[in-house]
């Protein structure tokens, strides 16, 4: 498949995809978050091939999203736990859940409900502006080049410039 590496792009979306964009990675994250920490359980629960699971776990550990913790010496056995970095990635899962619930759940309704500790109620996440606290959606936003933008280009805001050769 010889897949393009997204990590080098000057775009936080591409760089996030570099970390969890591979097939299965978000589902592995979901299961670890939901309490499945061991290789065998993950493999059976997901139905993913052992080869891919091993690759993904190594990658996620290398990226600092998961940690490997020894839960048994002799034989040495590890389990996989979320780091802070990984736990924050789970916020992304919550937003995926909201969209999936809204647009793909259909008649049956959402397969999982989320109860908020603070208020004890079953609810969903909502996106709000960190500055004013009002709802903030993709429609309510202007894009501006930030300090990490790599090319002061015309109107191409977050389009990566990897090749940097054919400009046009």
């Amino acid at each position: 498949m010889q897949r393009t590496q997204f990590g080098a792009m000057a775009c936080s979306i591409a760089r996030t995809l570099d970390v969890i964009g591979e097939p299965w990675s978000p589902l592995i994250l979901r299961d670890v978050y939901a309490g499945t920490h061991r290789f065998e359980q993950l493999q059976r629960g997901l139905g993913v091939s052992r080869k891919v699971l091993a690759e993904r776990l190594n990658w996620l550990v290398a990226q600092g999203v998961l940690t490997r913790r020894e839960y048994s010496t002799r034989p040495v056995r590890h389990e996989y736990l979320l780091t802070d970095k990984g736990m924050e990635l789970c916020d992304l899962l919550l937003v995926m859940v909201r969209w999936g619930d809204r647009w793909t759940a259909g008649e049956a309704g959402p397969p999982v409900l989320y109860r908020h500790h603070a208020c004890g109620r079953t609810s969903q996440v909502e996106l709000r502006c960190s500055a004013c606290g009002e709802p903030m959606h993709a429609t309510d936003i202007d894009l501006l080049p930030g300090p990490g933008a790599d090319s002061p280009d015309e109107e191409r805001l977050d389009v990566p410039d990897v090749g940097a050769s054919e400009r046009l």
Copy 2:
């Protein structure tokens, strides 16, 4: 690659991935959101192969995330626009941006800034509970089986049961 279909799983994350989980799809969505609507521009901006771009665009149109609008008869030319369903998917991009900015941007800082129309300030999205309005993160949540759950299993909450044969 003979990839597993996620769409059939009883999990909103898996079903969302089925829609935009393929490589390039989120970046295509990003560019359409940022104002790139035509095949040629998308292809050049992303550096994706034309074959894959055509496949992805067809899929996203089929899923109702994008619409094809004719902007020229003779020759017939279409441009790609976000539907409401697609625009709501962009919320997901905003959350990816926040994580990417925080964990992958490094020294250079975020490549793109977001200005909130309502308050005019440059800010980020924040996740809050739709019921009580307080911050709501993956750490603040309990998972409960919902109406759309497919198997009243033990503790495996949102793990799909596609095989349904090997239970253990």
